[in-house]
């Protein structure tokens, strides 16, 4: 077992008890817990450096700006790219909306096609439905193979020269399946389409080099990688960020404002209208520092081990069905399952009595639920602070649920 257990001491919330039992937090795909250095970085900013950024000549304003821009450069280094290629957004959802509106509205028209997969999170579906409605471009779905991975066996039948955008997830928040990035990038680029990678579940869990992925845009979210809520990142190839129109106008995103027209600030600031979430950016920077110190290879290895253990232990529970790849090299640590006729909400309530936090529901992926022909699933998701013992607690709690529902 990889040795990351000592990190738990950095996460104050992991000392909590829930319903009289130690918290077993298995909902990191929804949001992750925050280590003390992230909390401290935000406190320190408010206590000592609080001022608005990119305005004013006073010392505090300069300190705040320096810290805000320093966070951007740490996040850029974390995904192996240049600072100018990282724009701060409210989160991954907001970043996808910037791409959908800023690129889609200006480049799509009737007869064009937008391709997504049936396993996308609503964040990477609903904006494209909206853009499809506004532009007349048609929304087309990629289906899954029998390992729950986006099916690439017949890509040329779907991705033809009518396709302008291919948008897909790096890792499913439901099945844990990794997205076939290379195959989709190749297929899209062969017909001149651009690619949008929803990295919300990928960037927190694996080493990612944005420039090497081959995609045109990528988005990710701080709160799913030890950082605060309310901030995320939009990454793009330099020429893609140039041609992307900002979605919001206002202060800070401008160059010159006249009475009837304005010009935009350079990338990435043209995407950051208004006062940004400064403390959150600094917290985001502290989060990638923390992950960088642990090492993303170590994070990924730890998650592979614990996921393999969870798949093995869960398969010992009678009547339990897992929805996702069995092969841990094809997946991350989000494990969806159902147990007999026990509804996932009932499961979540029952295991919560033992302090176990799992997610139940459609996971913001209703088309995928319909594809899997289930109304909902239960999901346990793992991160660097989880332990094998916590998988054992989950399995024990699931056996208790079987008893409550009279399944023996």
């Amino acid at each position: 077992m990889s040795e990351l257990g000592h990190l738990r001491a950095d996460f104050p919330i992991l000392r909590r008890e829930i319903n009289g039992a130690p918290l077993v937090y298995l909902d990191s795909a929804a949001t992750t817990q925050k280590p003390q250095p992230v909390l401290d970085a935000m406190d320190e900013y408010y206590a000592n450096h609080n001022a608005n950024v990119h305005r004013g000549a006073h010392t505090l304003a300069a300190e705040a700006t320096e810290r805000y821009e320093d966070a951007r450069s740490r996040i850029a280094s974390f995904v192996d790219t240049a600072s100018a290629q990282i724009a701060f957004t409210r989160g991954a959802t907001a970043a996808i909306n910037v791409i959908a509106y800023g690129w889609g509205l200006n480049h799509l028209r009737e007869g064009d096609r937008i391709v997504v997969s049936v396993s996308e999170h609503h964040a990477n579906l609903v904006p494209w439905q909206m853009i499809s409605r506004y532009t007349g471009a048609e929304l087309i779905y990629l289906e899954l193979d029998d390992e729950f991975i986006i099916d690439t066996s017949n890509l040329e039948a779907v991705i033809d020269d009518r396709v302008r955008i291919v948008a897909f997830g790096g890792m499913s928040n439901v099945t844990g399946a990794l997205g076939p990035v290379d195959a989709l990038v190749d297929a899209a680029h062969s017909v001149g389409a651009i690619t949008v990678l929803d990295g919300a579940q990928l960037v927190p869990h694996a080493p990612v080099s944005a420039d090497d992925l081959g995609v045109d845009y990528m988005v990710f979210s701080a709160h799913k990688m030890l950082g605060p809520t309310g901030i995320g990142a939009l990454w793009g190839k330099p020429e893609r960020l140039e041609e992307l129109e900002p979605l919001e106008g206002g202060g800070e995103m401008i160059n010159i404002v006249e009475r009837y027209h304005s010009t935009w600030a350079p990338v990435p600031h043209k995407f950051e209208a208004g006062t940004p979430p400064i403390a959150e950016a600094i917290g985001f920077g502290a989060a990638v520092d923390y992950l960088g110190r642990v090492g993303m290879e170590a994070v990924a290895a730890h998650e592979r081990e614990i996921t393999a253990y969870a798949l093995e232990r869960l398969s010992e529970v009678p009547d339990l069905t897992i929805y996702g790849p069995k092969d841990v090299t094809k997946r991350g640590g989000a494990v969806s399952f159902s147990l007999g006729d026990i509804h996932p909400h009932d499961l979540a309530t029952i295991v919560d009595q033992d302090g176990v936090a799992i997610r139940a529901g459609h996971h913001c992926a209703r088309p995928l639920m319909q594809y899997l022909q289930v109304p909902a699933t239960a999901r346990a998701s793992f991160y660097l602070y989880n332990l094998r013992e916590e998988v054992d607690v989950l399995v024990g709690a699931l056996m208790k649920a079987r008893k409550v529902f009279g399944l023996g």
Partner: protein, 150 residues
């Protein structure tokens, strides 16, 4: 009784696994649908109201044991009753679901309890996030009766 046993009483699991009046109605009837977008629970109700009396009803739905059992028990409780009686029942159910711990006039162990099987849902109050599950069928019923022009 543990909080879990109190939540998942035998009668709730029975209604979950053997829902009453499951199906749809043909002919002239009221129809309403409800769902909880955050969890995906769904409930649909067909209702025949004649001369101020609910004479027939059918339900469809999918979701957790609490939402579906609540709906099934509601079916048992409303068919054959006047709309006035049912509206009174809706009020009592609402009161039951909002009463905090302590003295409880609807305690099933107290003589004169009024809600029958539905009182099994009292355990839900200990699980605040699940109250909306128990409420779903009743909110749908309210919608259906609103169409009756009451």
């Amino acid at each position: 009784m543990s909080q879990l046993d109190e939540l998942y009483r035998e009668v709730i699991l029975d209604h979950y696994r053997n829902p009453r009046r499951r199906g749809t109605l043909s002919g002239n009837h009221l129809h309403a649908e409800g769902n909880n977008p955050s969890c995906g629970d769904e409930f649909a109700l067909d209702l025949v109201v004649e001369n101020g009396v609910i004479t027939d009803a059918a339900m469809q739905g999918q979701g957790c044991s609490i939402s579906q059992a609540s709906g099934s028990m509601m079916m048992d409780a409303i068919v054959g009753r006047s709309v006035d009686e049912v509206e009174d029942l809706m009020r009592k159910f609402k009161v039951m679901m909002t009463i905090e711990d302590g003295d409880d006039p609807l305690d099933p162990d107290r003589p004169g309890s009024v809600l029958g099987d539905l009182e099994a849902l009292q355990g839900v109050r200990k699980f605040p996030v699940r109250i909306k599950c128990a409420d779903l069928a009743w909110a749908t019923l309210e919608d259906a009766l609103a169409q009756a022009g009451r």
